[in-house]
Symmetry: C2
Subunit: 310 residues, 2 copies
């Protein structure tokens, strides 16, 4: 099935306890598209970059079967740039620089050839922009997933509420779920957030895994792979989202059982992402590596227990 | 199989955002014995209380098939007392009062009838006391599990090292694992800690579940049940340990596969513990409730993913 990814294609500069990068390729749209490209061959992307963005990176996406017609290149403007520094525990970071540049007035134009797309993932962007994308699609996709962050909860709450009402799956982290719901318990948070609209909620807990809920409060807990070292967490959440939605687009099955598999797939892709700086590890994975990584999750989480043992 | 529990039988006074108790029954030994009593009918306990400890509580343990011959009652002395206050997130607490009382000079006397016990669990106590118990057993149990805490890492490191060398399973929390290993990554921490002696390591992560490792670094991740409300976390770790070792004693199988089941069983018992103050919820569980709770963990963690889907 076809998948439309909407999200930033950008530059990042990252500092972790393991090292420091110059400007490298980043952006939610990039991570999502790379991760999902391992699952669906019919992917389209809507984004915007400046004149300073390397054509080779756009060509790389094209070579991974991502239709880049929807990436606007703004003459005379600069690409979105984010720079951040991670602390020793890798769970918190300081933003050093945010230059919105082309994202400041991003008008998400949907190429005519993108109409009729089956799956839609909205990476973190202003909720009003995310909503515009939905409104500009002539037929509603089978499934719409979106990411957001606390920044929009702070400055664009009403817009955010309008947008979450229109989506099927909301993907946020635990801190964001607590802020959005004003509840500490993630179970209570999940119930409140699904009352705001989405039929499914994924709460990412970083090294502690991820929770998937549906409106009947069926719950799935996906572990995170315990890692020797997290080299660079940048993009892990977007990579998770890309693996998740890419798997759904590939299998075209949005049952809760299949969403569990999609969450595991997203977790597996995220576990690759953090092994190297930026998108590096996501550029040349083999299907065999992905399969073996998913099997590590099976080994990690599976047990069987029979009634007579209890 | 028979199980020997060694641990404090004590008084607690607890304050949480949901309420406050007077002196109620607590102690690691109490929680372990209660939790494991649902699995093994041949349990013995070694502990010490003061003259102020209620006989009815000892009778309750006896009624749950716990042999209390090894509980010394010290005339003219007072029972160990701990008082603590939990913060809003329930993940941190302040100790308000610690009165060691009878624990100060605890000499763990093993009744003759306890010799030959199959399984041994050492609740959190001075590592020298834990070691004395092992040394006083004429035949080594099939499996020795122990709990400890950062307090002993701070003040009795050498003693702790001697004792961990003698046990099969060490059960600690993530913060303790990091302190003990001086590693932030739990994978690295696990490897270093198992180099100190134990063949298996369980790292409890509270609301984030628990990890089980063996020396080949086989790893199992047990989720915690996402709860609407944690009423009182006191004793949850001990209850986990009791469910874990009780299940092993019942099934008499110390393979990694069966340890996974034991970890799930411990997690299920701990999920009951936090629903009420103190030991209350552990006093009258039915086998049906326990079975159903374990099945909730199955639903929470299980997924199936086939090669052809990836």
């Amino acid at each position: 099935m076809s998948l439309l990814t909407v999200g930033s294609v950008a530059f990042d500069a990252i500092e972790t306890p393991f090292g420091k990068t110059d400007k490298i390729i980043g952006g939610a749209g990039t991570y999502i598209a790379l991760a999902s490209s391992y699952f669906t061959e019919d992917q389209k992307i809507v984004s915007v970059v400046g004149e300073d963005f390397p054509q080779t990176t756009l060509d790389d996406l094209k070579n991974r079967n991502v239709d880049i017609e929807g990436i606007q290149i703004k003459k005379g403007e600069k690409t979105f740039f984010w720079s951040g520094k991670y602390h020793n525990d890798m769970n918190s970071r300081d933003t050093l620089v945010t230059e919105l540049n082309v994202l400041e007035n991003f008008d998400p134009i949907i190429p005519e050839s993108y109409q009729g797309v089956d799956y839609l993932i909205l990476g973190n962007l202003a909720p009003s922009v995310q909503r515009q994308v939905i409104e500009r699609l002539e037929t509603r996709p089978k499934l719409i997933a979106m990411d957001t962050m606390n920044f929009w909860m702070d400055i664009a709450w009403d817009d955010l509420m309008k947008t979450v009402k229109m989506v099927d799956v909301l993907i946020i982290n635990d801190e964001e779920a607590r802020q959005m719901s004003k509840e500490y318990s993630l179970v209570r948070a999940a119930r409140k957030i699904m009352d705001m609209g989405p039929r499914y909620l994924i709460i990412k807990k970083g090294e502690h895994g991820a929770l998937l809920f549906d409106q009947k409060m069926n719950t799935f807990f996906a572990p995170a792979l315990p890692l020797e070292e997290v080299f660079d967490p940048t993009g892990a959440g977007d990579t998770f989202a890309g693996g998740f939605v890419g798997f759904l687009a590939k299998t075209d099955d949005i049952s809760f059982e299949n969403m569990k598999r999609a969450v595991i797939t997203g977790s597996a892709m995220a576990s690759f992402c953090v092994e190297k700086f930026g998108t590096e590890r996501l550029e040349n994975l083999s299907q065999e590596e992905i399969y073996n990584r998913i099997m590590e999750f099976v080994d990690l989480a599976q047990f069987d227990i029979k009634r007579e043992l209890i």
